[in-house]
């Protein structure tokens, strides 16, 4: 295993952020860590990165993980290239090797621009490139595609695929289920500090997904009914959507929420 957490508990004062988490990722796997805001995803990632110590339980990590935290962390006055150098130096990686990441993250033409003058998506790509500058065996990406434009999203997804293809284990937190389907990633669903489901997409769909109709009424209420029937809807319905068995409906069944909420 490239990452193995066993019985990990983490509290912030009274608040329990992780409540006995067992979580492991083998080499070459991509695991999407899903869960509503506040579920404990960032806490789990920080523990795996060695930034936080668990209150109990054990953590084992292969090598020095590469971390892209949820919030963008770059040196705004330095150029894109210099940002990569700065972290390459910390890891004892040559500048030339660090600059190989310019291309996959679509940064080649921006290499000499100060990072502070990049767009949000460009900064996000640099931020993610920094995480992998030393070719880590474990890559931790905390919401790498949050608010990202299409180009950024596809560059990051391609990079994730490439890294896993080279044998790295990738843990990836996100709210976007289509992305996970596109990557064919394994899924772990975290809610209130516990992993409530995990497996491949197919396993999750087979185990938890059912067809649903989501109905929105004029007064803003929403209701979900099992099945696919749209018969017998009253005049007070403004919208009705059939959700076929999918990652989305599995997520809904497990958390009672849509993934984007």
């Amino acid at each position: 295993m490239s990452l193995a957490l066993t019985g990990v508990v983490k509290r912030y004062g009274e608040r329990v952020a992780l409540d006995g988490v067992d979580f492991s990722v083998p080499a070459g796997a991509v695991v999407a860590l899903l869960g509503p805001n506040g579920a404990g995803k960032s806490t789990l990632v920080s523990i795996a990165a060695g930034l936080l110590a668990p209150d109990s339980g054990s953590v084992s990590v292969r090598g020095r993980p590469g971390l892209a935290p949820q919030e963008i962390g770059i040196y705004p006055s330095l150029t894109v290239r210099e940002n990569l150098w700065a972290f390459a130096e910390l890891y004892g990686v040559s500048r030339r090797r660090a600059e190989r990441w310019l291309e996959p993250f679509v940064l080649t033409e921006l290499a000499d621009r100060p990072a502070g003058r990049l767009s949000g998506g460009e900064q996000r790509r640099l931020h993610t490139a920094i995480a992998v500058v030393h070719r880590p065996k474990l890559v931790l990406l905390d919401e790498p595609t949050a608010g990202a434009d299409t180009q950024t999203r596809s560059a990051i997804l391609d990079a994730v695929r490439g890294l896993a293809g080279d044998g790295a284990a990738v843990v990836y937190t996100t709210h976007y289920l289509p992305e996970i389907e596109e990557l064919g990633a394994d899924v772990a669903l975290l809610e209130r500090g516990r992993i409530i489901a995990s497996g491949t997409i197919e396993e999750l769909v087979a185990r938890h997904a059912e067809s649903l109709v989501e109905i929105t009424y004029t007064d803003g209420r929403t209701e979900r009914r099992p099945g696919t029937s749209l018969h017998g809807l009253g005049d007070d319905v403004v919208r009705a959507e059939v959700i076929r068995p999918s990652l989305e409906s599995a997520y809904l069944a497990l958390t009672g929420r849509r993934s984007a909420e």
Binding site: L51, L52, P69, E71, E89
Partner: protein
């Protein structure tokens, strides 16, 4: 990490240049006026630079407290601090990396100010240069450690700004960095020793004007060491690698 600190300095050298250039200008402007002040204080015929060079060195070295504080806080503001930690830098390496460039800056400051004083402002050390170097080195250590203490104990960048910059000015003035303590108002005299600058200036006066050697400045050196120890204590007590620091935004 030190390489990156130098890189950051190269991209924005203005604050560092001001910290060396500004005291040069002030020294030059104030030295003549200070000659009579020194004479009134019993040092007939001494050049004004005997006050302005060590005085400005103390005052502007004190701004390094802010330099250290900001060096740590800006890393939080840029959100690169957790990335440095994730790269496996130990607390000691992080702090060493953060102190290296300010240490270089304070050293350069002293070399330039004293060098300029000797070359252009008739500064003469009647006693021991070694004593002068000891005082300067210990005072430089004191301000660097005070910067760490500030970064450790304060939680917002506004606090760092207020405490370190205003503190540097206040302690510099109180301790006789601008004008000698004996020409400050009567009521200030008993509280002047609360400022580390007072003790540095006391030592400088002994070595520069009164022909003192290292043995004659051991008293001020001991007090400066005690101040340094107190700041180190605060830094050790309050410093936490994962403490949240509020910056801008």
């Amino acid at each position: 990490m030190i390489r990156n600190e130098l890189r950051l300095l190269r991209h924005d050298p203005v604050p560092a240049a001001v910290l060396v250039g500004m005291p040069l200008v002030l020294m030059t402007l104030l030295s003549d006026a200070m000659k009579s002040t020194l004479a009134a204080g019993g040092h007939e015929g001494a050049p004004g630079s005997a006050q302005t060079v060590p005085g400005m060195a103390c005052v502007f070295a004190s701004f390094a407290i802010a330099v250290v504080g900001f060096a740590i806080f800006r890393e939080h503001g840029w959100r690169t601090w957790p990335r440095l930690r994730a790269a496996g830098l130990s607390g000691r390496k992080l702090i060493g990396g953060k102190l290296a460039v300010p240490a270089l800056l304070v050293t350069a400051q002293h070399v330039v100010l004293f060098g300029f004083g000797v070359l252009f402002l008739d500064l003469e050390v009647s006693g021991s240069w070694l004593a002068v170097i000891f005082i300067a080195a210990l005072f430089a250590t004191l301000v660097l450690v005070a910067g760490l203490a500030a970064a450790a104990a304060l939680s917002t960048i506004q606090q760092v700004n207020a405490v370190t910059n205003l503190g540097a000015m206040a302690l510099g003035g109180l301790g006789g960095g601008f004008v000698p303590v004996d020409s400050l108002p009567e009521w200030v005299q008993p509280i002047a020793p609360l400022s580390p600058v007072y003790w540095a200036m006391d030592g400088y006066e002994t070595a520069i004007l009164e022909g003192g050697g290292v043995g004659d400045v051991l008293g001020p050196l001991a007090v400066l060491a005690a101040f340094t120890a107190v700041f180190a204590g605060i830094a050790l007590w309050r410093f936490k690698l994962d403490a949240p620091k509020r910056t801008w935004g």
